[in-house]
């Protein structure tokens, strides 16, 4: 067809940018859901009933290792057909639930790794000092468990952001969806899709750099080997 045209580019840019609200809104909404649901997995997998934990673990593994796009389709197209419980969701809500739950399965693992990273001695010391369960968690464990997870959570936020355009397939009008309909109307897909790619790059790359910087900072703070080196210096 045609080659690159700056005219089309400038024409499509303001139209596509209007979709950024929805794309970013869906990212934030899904991420908040994932943060909350991540805790739910953690709790459900550490009940005293081993068999129950085992089942929950495999449900989580199931959600985690199957394609999010199928989960989005399930919630949007099929959920209203589920007998008794089914109600229909708007595209935005369906995408938010699917992506939020999908990513919560990863987030719960991040939480777990944070808690596991707290030295055993800390738990023992808290017990020895007769801390209550609440105090043990709030003043000893969580203040040490949360900071190292922040870069990991940031990474997942960026990954989630890049999964959000999947919602275009069920008609959430984010940047990808607008770019596609622009292409369908004018028969020039090249410029609008390039704009979408550029927008993603411009938003995710600086965020990735930020997360990497944060990671380095955390490593400095929490890497005991490096701490020792510093002390001897």
């Amino acid at each position: 067809m045609s080659y690159w045209s700056w005219e089309t580019f400038m024409d499509a840019l303001p139209i596509i940018i209007t979709g950024l609200n929805v794309t970013l809104g869906l990212t934030v909404a899904s991420f908040l859901l994932a943060l909350a649901a991540g805790f739910v997995w953690l709790i459900l997998e550490s009940t005293p009933v081993k068999a129950f934990n085992f089942i929950v673990y495999w449900i989580r593994e199931f959600i985690r290792s199957t394609p999010p796009i199928v989960q989005i389709f399930f919630l949007y197209f099929a959920w209203p057909m589920v007998p008794y419980v089914g109600t229909s969701f708007t595209p935005f809500v369906a995408a938010m639930l699917a992506l939020g739950i999908h990513f919560s399965t990863y987030i719960s693992e991040v939480y777990r790794s944070g808690i596991d990273s707290v030295d055993k001695g800390q738990w023992e010391a808290a017990t020895a000092l007769n801390f209550s369960v609440k105090d043990k968690w709030l003043t000893i464990v969580l203040p040490q468990a949360i900071p190292p997870t922040v870069p990991m959570l940031g990474n997942y936020l960026i990954i989630l952001f890049k999964e959000v355009p999947l919602a275009a397939t069920i008609g959430v009008v984010g940047i990808l969806s607008i770019a596609r309909s622009y292409g369908a109307q004018t028969w020039s897909y090249l410029e609008p899709l390039t704009i979408v790619a550029l927008l993603f790059l411009m938003l995710s790359y600086p965020s990735a750099l930020l997360v990497r910087a944060l990671e380095k900072k955390m490593n400095r703070r929490f890497d005991k080997k490096k701490m020792k080196v510093k002390v001897t210096e």
Partner: protein, 220 residues
């Protein structure tokens, strides 16, 4: 219900070939890209290193679905070339995307091999190539295994997107089934998910195995 479930599963197997062939080919090419990009990012030549870095950051910074559409709609317009079939478009998009992610695994694993190993091989007068092939890579590979296992599951999940560019994979047949039997929609998609999960099971097992191998103590 079980009978319908079984029927749906049978119906979906029509798409199994496409999903598996794309998955396997894309995995092979992802590994290839990962090693090429990961190792060239460690090159001494700043131009080569820079080019690899640009590739990795661009493909990691944009999402797979955008890249897929870009290759499908935009590349033929821009360069007036055809990537052949949609099958190849799918494979190339997935391979470039996950190759970029996995190249970081290669790079960080190579870096994390102890410096003494490099120094020792220099002292033993090994060439750069020998040093990489005989000393560094065998140790780095072990560290890459668990991540590679995880990414193979990600690649499998990524293949579900190819139904969007008209390929007849598992999800495509799931959609067909749902649109002709609307009331069985939930079961249809559940079966699609189960089918992906069955394919993923050996990969989950492999990545757990990889984790064990990577954790096994070696003299360091």
């Amino acid at each position: 219900m079980f009978e319908t479930g079984w029927n749906i599963l049978n119906f979906l197997t029509q798409g199994l070939g496409t999903t598996l062939s794309i998955f396997l080919t894309a995995t092979v090419f992802s590994f290839l890209m990962a090693f090429i990009a990961g190792l060239t990012r460690l090159s001494g030549n700043i131009l080569i290193r820079g080019a690899a870095a640009v590739y990795v950051e661009v493909f990691r910074g944009t999402s797979l679905i955008v890249q897929l559409f870009w290759l499908y709609y935009a590349v033929p317009m821009l360069f007036n070339i055809n990537l052949g079939s949609n099958w190849w478009v799918g494979v190339v998009a997935i391979a470039l995307n996950y190759g970029a992610y996995m190249s970081e695994v290669v790079r960080t694993s190579v870096i994390s091999v102890d410096k003494g190993q490099t120094e020792a091989s220099i002292a033993l007068n090994l060439s750069r190539f020998q040093r990489m092939r005989d000393v560094i890579l065998p140790q780095a590979l072990r560290l890459m295994l668990p991540e590679f296992g995880n990414y193979s599951i990600q690649i499998l999940k990524g293949t579900a997107l190819v139904s969007l560019i008209g390929l007849t994979d598992i999800l495509y047949f799931g959609d067909i089934y749902r649109s002709t039997n609307l009331s069985e929609g939930p079961l249809a998609y559940l079966m699609v998910l189960i089918m992906y999960f069955i394919i993923a099971l050996p990969l989950i097992w492999l990545s757990k195995k990889g984790e064990k191998i990577a954790r096994r103590g070696v003299a360091s």
